[in-house]
């Protein structure tokens, strides 16, 4: 972190370009709703709220699970050998080395967007909502973390370069919108196989008081935990198989 702060202008630029990216997505929603009242029964402000919610777990994920280049950085370059000689769990150490605190700024944007949309929607607020929010955000971040750690472990089995990570980032974007606009197959995939819907719509539905989705909302931490545990199991198996770069 200290080395990062030395390049303060880079940091500002990075935060600004993230903000710009988020602004583009909001502009898209705003322009689209200039032509329609409802998106499959969801109003403009609800969609914005879902997007704002999505940004929070996504920011936490980008801060702590920065492992999209794990294969190139650790396996191909042999850095993994160094990690394995240390006395803490290898995954934990990789995560610690790659923390990017500046990504947390996205959570601030997300909260601001949520509060703005929430105030337009007159959402009821209970004392326990922040706690549930925290639980869902952690769940969502774990879903993302679990999926991407699992993908990173592919590196233990095959050191070929794959573009599966960027593909997955693009699939993740599907979770920003209500899943009922997709067809059943995609909805099923987004719920049970690549559960990106648990990062956006499902947990946000609780705060939007969409009772038909409550069941899914409260499944968020469970799914997050399940996928995260699965990824750790995969990681541990992968580490056992790992033989190091070179011979």
């Amino acid at each position: 972190m200290k080395t990062r702060l030395q390049y303060r202008s880079d940091l500002v630029v990075e935060i600004l370009s993230d903000l710009l990216f988020q602004a583009v997505n909001l502009v898209f929603i705003l322009v689209v709703f200039g032509h329609t009242q409802f998106l499959h029964g969801w109003s403009r402000d609800e969609i914005i709220f879902i997007y704002g919610f999505f940004l929070v777990p996504f920011a936490i994920f980008s801060t702590f699970f920065n492992i999209w280049d794990f294969n190139e950085r650790y396996i191909v370059k042999g850095e993994m050998d160094r990690i394995l000689t240390r006395p803490i769990h290898s995954l934990f150490q990789v995560i610690l080395e790659r923390i990017e605190l500046e990504s947390l700024f996205g959570a601030v944007t997300g909260l601001a967007v949520m509060i703005y949309a929430g105030s337009l929607l007159d959402l009821p607020f209970h004392w326990y909502d922040p706690l549930i929010f925290l639980l869902f955000v952690i769940g969502g971040a774990l879903v993302y973390g679990g999926i991407f750690i699992s993908l990173a472990t592919i590196g233990f089995w095959s050191d070929a370069r794959t573009s599966i990570m960027p593909t997955m980032y693009n699939i993740g974007n599907y979770g920003r919108y209500p899943v009922d606009i997709y067809n059943n197959v995609i909805r099923y995939i987004l719920t049970w196989i690549l559960p990106f819907a648990f990062v956006g719509v499902y947990p946000a539905a609780y705060f939007l008081k969409r009772e038909e989705w409550y069941w899914y909302s409260f499944l968020t931490p469970v799914v997050g935990l399940a996928f995260f545990i699965l990824s750790i199991v995969l990681w541990n198996t992968g580490v056992k198989r790992y033989r190091g770069a070179g011979n």
Binding site: D10, F28, V31, V32, H40, T167
Partner: protein, 263 residues
């Protein structure tokens, strides 16, 4: 001229050597087209057409914009930034060709490769997956291809401009990223320009970005009728020429600066 054609050829062959990278690219673009397909279907709901585009035209618009992006999009700005930062550009400058010309030709080689190995197969694949309609008129196809050539040049010129700024800024990674996001939005890749509020459309009329994606895609989907098509092409042609002015000015300033640094 021969040497520039050679540059196109070399870049083309280089891309051919790494072609496996592109199969996943088609998948990624397919995923993006899919996301927007569902989104637009939901947006249209029961509506027959929005701003003169039917849902089929809209889906075609999305598909063709992404596949056209495969052709015009390149990372020449990032390559230039690296070459300038590492000082390689000094060697390039004493070679017997124009540096910017070389970069353009490399971009063209890359673009041609992607056009044949990415855009065309990609378009055929998405044609079978999504309800897309291709125009039967060869005139439309011809005008579309002409328009696509202009989009390549406009995008290339903006890339060159961004690349040259490395001479002046210590680190322009942020600028490059920002430029990419702005182009995706204002070029009409994500949203047809005609969907924006009128005031925004007026502002964008003074900017070159819609020449990159909106105009060729509207020609392809028959969203433009009659005079609109030629106006669009004229808009693109004008910007392709106009953009040469800031490029030569800033390039002149950059070269001067480089000499000062060296001496």
């Amino acid at each position: 001229m021969d040497k520039y054609i050679e540059m196109i050829r070399i870049r083309f062959l280089m891309m051919l050597a790494y072609r496996t990278n592109y199969y996943s690219g088609i998948l990624i673009y397919g995923i993006n087209i899919g996301a927007y397909y569902f989104l637009w279907s939901a947006i249209y709901g029961g509506k027959g057409n929005i701003e003169g585009l039917s849902i089929t035209q809209m889906v075609t618009y999305v598909a063709v914009s992404w596949m056209a992006r495969a052709f015009y999009f390149n990372n020449i700005d990032r390559e230039m930034a690296t070459e300038i930062k590492e000082g390689k550009v000094a060697v390039e400058l004493i070679r017997p060709y124009s540096y910017l010309g070389m970069k353009t030709m490399q971009g063209l080689g890359e673009g041609l490769f992607r056009f044949f190995f990415f855009s065309i197969p990609g378009l055929i694949i998405v044609y079978f997956i999504f309800p897309i309609e291709f125009s039967a008129s060869p005139v439309t196809w011809g005008l579309f291809l002409l328009s696509l050539v202009f989009s390549f040049f406009i995008n290339m010129q903006i890339n060159l401009l961004t690349g040259i700024t490395t001479f002046f800024l210590f680190n322009n990674d942020g600028l490059i990223r920002a430029k990419r996001v702005v182009i995706d939005l204002f070029s009409g890749l994500l949203l047809p320009i005609s969907f924006y509020p009128i005031w925004a459309q007026n502002i964008m009329g003074y900017l070159p970005f819609q020449g990159i994606s909106y105009i060729p895609s509207m020609i392809f989907t028959n969203g433009f009728k009659g005079a609109d098509v030629y106006q669009g092409l004229l808009f693109q042609a004008l910007w392709s020429v106009v953009l040469l002015i800031p490029i030569s000015l800033i390039w002149w300033a950059a070269r001067k600066r480089l000499v000062i640094q060296g001496g």
